[in-house]
Subunit: 196 residues, 4 copies
């Protein structure tokens, strides 16, 4: 992430007061990103980039670990263990769809990951239906299913004007489409024993 | 299905007053099965058995068409069209999991099938989480997700004493485990515009 | 297969003096097909059509069993066992590509099937590169690889005028393209201990 | 790679006079590795580690780019383009098996990659049957098939005493098993227009 990107993140955080999750691509950029982000994301393509996992763990920040798009549950857990062995136990797992033979969806969202991983780990598990679906129209239904299956949270792509989004405009929700989903999450939170 | 099986189905229907869905494996057995069943099921392995599809359609009974475990949405629709071209429009689609690289679950339940197929067809879509999960403990969460994603119904394996089930005992729910799921379906039905 | 099809097969066999392999789709048509064919083929979509497997076995003719496009080696062997339990041991296995995420080829030809299945069974194993590739230009290289990996034979789609083929014209070789491949098979046969 | 590893590589090269290919895992280690290696390998898990691709390209050394175990041909080409855009055109592609539903083999060797990629790129393509098979007994047959399908070379795991190999002992060939395969490569080289 370039200097301009870091400034943007810092400004967004300061203007909104919201915590920020930012993806890191290399171990080297982590110290700089850690100054402006509240949580580091390791993306699907880097799930087995072990040097990155260790460096993210050593930052001391929470790490959001996306499942590799062809990773088994066991490989995903093994990657989480790389972060945890640095002493950093704040790992959040994120299911975001796996590669299958079906081509109408960008990836196949594997919601079974939530109950199965619950048996294998105490780490929180969230779901990203946007990257799995690849099409905004299918995101609300999948978000609802993710909460129903027991996910601890959602990661959803949204944009004030989705058509103008630089990245993945087809899967971005408008803020109007995002609002009811945010309501579902708030309603689900106390049931999970989380702050409302 | 042998004669003993047919008698069993007939007796179960008469004792309970409930409609019965029964799988058919060959075109030849359809006339006999049609006398005791209210709906014919075409199983996952037969989704592209075109002679069976046509014969099931010609029975005039509703046909429950399970998705092949490696079939795309488009292949599934093509199989439904084989039934519909007999003039029988009472086809119910059933998502039951697809084959992927993940081995902890028996199959990977593809809940995206519900919103995507909704755009492609008017046929009702139900979900079978039992065959997908292969493990009873994961079925309730997946059943809940299936309703949340918009499924028109559920197909769930249950048994008064699951351990003694002749077929797939690992994935069968007890009647006590089934009961709350039945309640969810009843609660969801009016929202879908179905009779409660 | 209709009556006209059966006559065509009978005429082709009589004119050429060559043995004929013909696909069967239902148990009912087997007695008629068995009168004109020397070997019955069970296609990929029917690999788990157990009634068809048994009926093909009971014909007493050799049965060419294509691997299901999503079948594991073990499932393929289980299907062969259905035929063999009729007392008919003349089963020929045919690898024809499996479904994967790659879309440039019609299927992914799995040549590892040959050495792995060799360890698991004594049945002969042939390879069909045409259905796997889906594109004629790639067939000769894959045919050569199939022989090199130890296949006992090849099944290749060819047509005197490929563009006019009714079925799968994109993957059919011309007779000129077929000729050298036939030569490779003849050259390989004595090495395998088969008649030259 | 630690300092001890680098010294070992340097010694092996000097003792044998053979050129050395070594895997690099991070951009940072490339300058050190480049002092002792003749070719840098980017492994399957790093095929989409774009920073590593660029840094490997900028080394000026040949780069052996293994296909990601779930990468399409087009994604593989896109990764090669990352290296080539540094001005370094010495990229060697290596097919090493893809992840499928079949579990008896470690991965499914996709030999169709050779003829298909030939149409899409001028880069040389080699094949690694060892990682695909995962079992030494199947490697010679797959190596032979790889040459027959047109591969420009092979990458094969071997060890003087395979049982004592630190890494993947199940798939390592002994030197006696390796020798005939080396002979096949030498025999094939002039046919491909390479130095014998």
């Amino acid at each position: 992430m370039g200097e301009a990107g870091l400034e943007l993140v810092a400004r967004a955080r300061s203007l909104t007061g919201l915590p920020v999750v930012t993806e890191v691509l290399t171990a080297e950029e982590i110290p700089l990103v850690a100054e402006v982000a509240d949580c580091l994301q390791v993306g699907s393509r880097n799930m087995q980039n072990f040097r990155l996992l260790v460096a993210a763990g050593e930052s001391g920040l929470p790490v959001l670990l996306k499942r590799g798009f062809s990773a088994t549950y066991d490989e995903w857990l093994a990657s989480a263990a790389y972060i945890e062995q640095t002493g950093n136990r704040q790992v959040i797992l994120c299911e975001r769809g796996i590669r299958t033979f079906e081509t109408r969806t960008r990836n196949t969202l594997d919601l079974s990951a939530v109950p199965v991983m619950r048996e294998l780990t105490d780490l929180p598990i969230i779901v990203d239906p946007s990257h799995a679906a690849g099409t905004a129209a299918w995101v609300p239904a999948l978000a609802s299913a993710a909460l129903a299956v027991g996910a601890d949270g959602l990661m959803i792509e949204a944009h004030p004007r989705p058509r103008e989004s630089w990245c993945d405009p087809d899967q971005a929700l408008s803020l109007e489409e995002l609002q009811p989903i945010a309501g579902w999450v708030l309603a689900a939170a106390p049931i999970r024993g989380l702050a409302g």
